[in-house]
Symmetry: C2
Subunit: 405 residues, 2 copies
């Protein structure tokens, strides 16, 4: 689910980072705001443009009309073809254990996060269960947890803080690789007996962003079509769940929330995942999906680090190389976001404001992620034109004072 919450704060006249439907193309003009606040995954569009003939989805007027996919299964609104494609993709990539696990489809992993909260807390007790995640945490977690003022669960902030001072039943959300900062993570709350439950948000645990260090095998894992292949507009996500009762309750949540998940999009996702997997089976594609997208992300990070190193205003996280089971190589992570930290020592410096004021780049402030506003998250998943414009603008910034560029 990570990366694309709350575009409402973007003003009219800003430049979307995406090329929505392939027809409304953004143009770069230096006096327009470059919107890199959301993580719209436009970077992968060019790959799919080259694959058009293989990926084209055709749906006749009388297909996919029923609410029901298979009443004999726990997740009765999940298309069997979608479930098969998900299992096959994970087996090809090796990033998650799917044998003897339940799959639950959702309207993006945003919905699955909420389905998991419901499943792990209902029917509920006298007090809502605390939901925590280690800061810097994904900026949408607090809002998505609290907007309905549920009596089942409530946002309780930074997991490190909860580990020190918190009490009672809790859910820790482990986002790995983490949005915003790209680090591979483990749970941080420890020694609580059976009071804690875990949700692993693995939206970015794919080879274009990170070494695949092991097949993830956690109790409750969520993934999304948006970040794995770049098809955010389809709103498709899935959970891989160990416990049958949790999977059943998650399905029940989705039934009560939206009475199922678009079959058109489930079938489209199945098709696109199938094309990726066929590529690895046949080795006939010019360039396979994860190799292509990893190469693009690696190039972006190299270009970004050159600019950041040169002007010495921001720093970026350093990531250790790790052995990737998918590629069979020691490789670096290439996260979907740059987590920029102002080098000036003053903690209160507002780097988002500086980026917006000096070079008209809209990122998201660190305070939204539970840390200081010297940090700003900037999307690296825009199309090439916008990314190039971002680097050009970033190269002109010479200091964190507003007149210094």
């Amino acid at each position: 689910m990570c990366g694309t919450d709350s575009p409402a704060s973007i003003n009219k006249g800003s430049l979307p980072s995406a090329n929505g439907n392939g027809t409304r193309s953004p143009t770069c003009s230096s006096d327009r705001v470059l919107n890199l606040e959301q993580g719209d995954p436009s970077v992968f569009q060019s790959y799919w443009s080259k694959m058009e003939d293989k990926c084209t989805m055709v749906i006749s007027g009388s297909q996919l009309m029923s609410y029901i996919s298979d009443f004999t299964t726990l997740c009765w609104f999940m298309e069997p073809e979608f479930q098969e494609a998900v299992r096959r993709l994970h087996r090809v990539v090796g990033n998650a254990v799917v044998d003897d696990r339940y799959i639950v489809v959702g309207t993006g992993s945003t919905q699955l996060y909420q389905a998991a909260l419901y499943a792990l807390t209902s029917p509920g007790g006298p007090e809502p269960v605390s939901v925590v995640s280690a800061a810097p945490y994904y900026s949408a977690y607090p809002e998505e947890t609290d907007y309905l003022r549920s009596g089942l669960y409530k946002w309780a902030g930074d997991a490190y803080e909860f580990d020190k001072n918190g009490t009672g039943p809790y859910i820790e959300v482990v986002n790995s690789p983490n949005n915003p900062d790209g680090t591979l993570r483990e749970a941080v709350v420890t020694n609580r007996g059976d009071e804690g439950k875990l949700i692993h948000d693995l939206a970015y645990y794919w080879p274009q962003y990170t070494p695949i260090i092991r097949p993830a095998d956690h109790d409750n894992m969520t993934f999304t079509f948006s970040k794995s292949t770049g098809h955010a507009g389809s709103r498709i996500g899935w959970a891989v769940v160990k416990d049958k009762e949790v999977a059943r309750k998650m399905s029940k949540f989705i039934e009560m929330s939206t009475l199922g998940v678009s079959k058109d999009s489930q079938q489209r996702a199945a098709k696109i995942m199938g094309v990726i997997c066929d590529g690895y089976k046949n080795f006939k594609s010019d360039e396979l999906f994860f190799e292509h997208t990893r190469r693009v992300m690696a190039e972006r990070w190299e270009r970004l680090r050159q600019v950041v190193d040169r002007n010495q205003v921001f720093s970026l996280p350093k990531y250790p190389k790790q052995y990737c089971l998918f590629s069979g190589e020691l490789i670096e992570p290439y996260p979907g976001f740059a987590w920029l930290e102002a080098k000036e020592k003053e903690e209160e410096i507002d780097s988002q404001k500086v980026l917006r004021g000096c070079i008209k780049v809209q990122g998201r402030t660190g305070s939204r992620f539970g840390v200081a506003q010297k940090y700003t998250r900037v999307s690296l998943l825009s199309n090439e034109e916008v990314f190039k414009e971002f680097l050009e603008r970033l190269s002109t910034i010479k200091s964190m004072t507003s007149n210094g560029h």
Copy 2:
């Protein structure tokens, strides 16, 4: 949203009322349970089969990838083509005022119902707002209102009861034509000053089910693709809203709930609505959509009433003829559900149990709709094979005692 909640209670081995994807065809065997509990709108599939060439949706691998449809609009994830199609369809049918109204797209009207509750109650006060609807009310309202134990709103039951004894701020959901009983309705809670707000669930306010007595012009109206055209699997609904702030909050809810709505399905809905409207513009179709579907529903009701009149075990509601602005005729309602009432005087008789036990027909008990269990709701929207089997079984039932058929 009306009609298709909670299939979880259906056992394995039951017969779905739908022909899901056009390939998994149900077969009728007298020893299998006929599932008519949900309102899966399979009845309209044969019409769309004949229209295949006009309605086929083609989506290439690189289209509709962005989260964003139009950042300059309030509902930034709504495809402009979808919005235009919705406005055009309402203008052709004349069932709702759409000029100077906001349109909000949702993942089915199930999500829009919850979006409206959020919009009308947030940020909330010390006590949750009471949500009521006149019994018999749609069976999913209580669960969809209460499953997250929201502090913003809570289900408070029958609106007639609330009108007599209830106090404080409230939302009345007016479902017209009403599911389960097919009646055209008005709000029933009166004389409360500005304490009350209304949601009009107009899922069935289409010419195949009811005379269109006027263009509906309420504050907050919801509609669904599922019941208007029969495409339930796409999970598309829309709201027509007068107040900008309410529309903005509903969009915000959908952003927090699912980060938008499947673009694949929005585009498919736009295409299918366009085909319907083109038919009325050109008058070239063999039979236009609403004429065809109304004829089918009228025939079903005629056949149903013959069986019910003959065996004298149940009664059905009588509906007055009213002038329909769409057809220009005095016509009867033909609801999507039969609301069967056992004729025996004993209030506690369980007609759902009798139908299940005697003729293996699974309906939904009146107690789920807030009334006596002498009532059972049975879907009339199945495919022809299943509907015919239902009538054959119903004709064999001779009394409400379990051995009497």
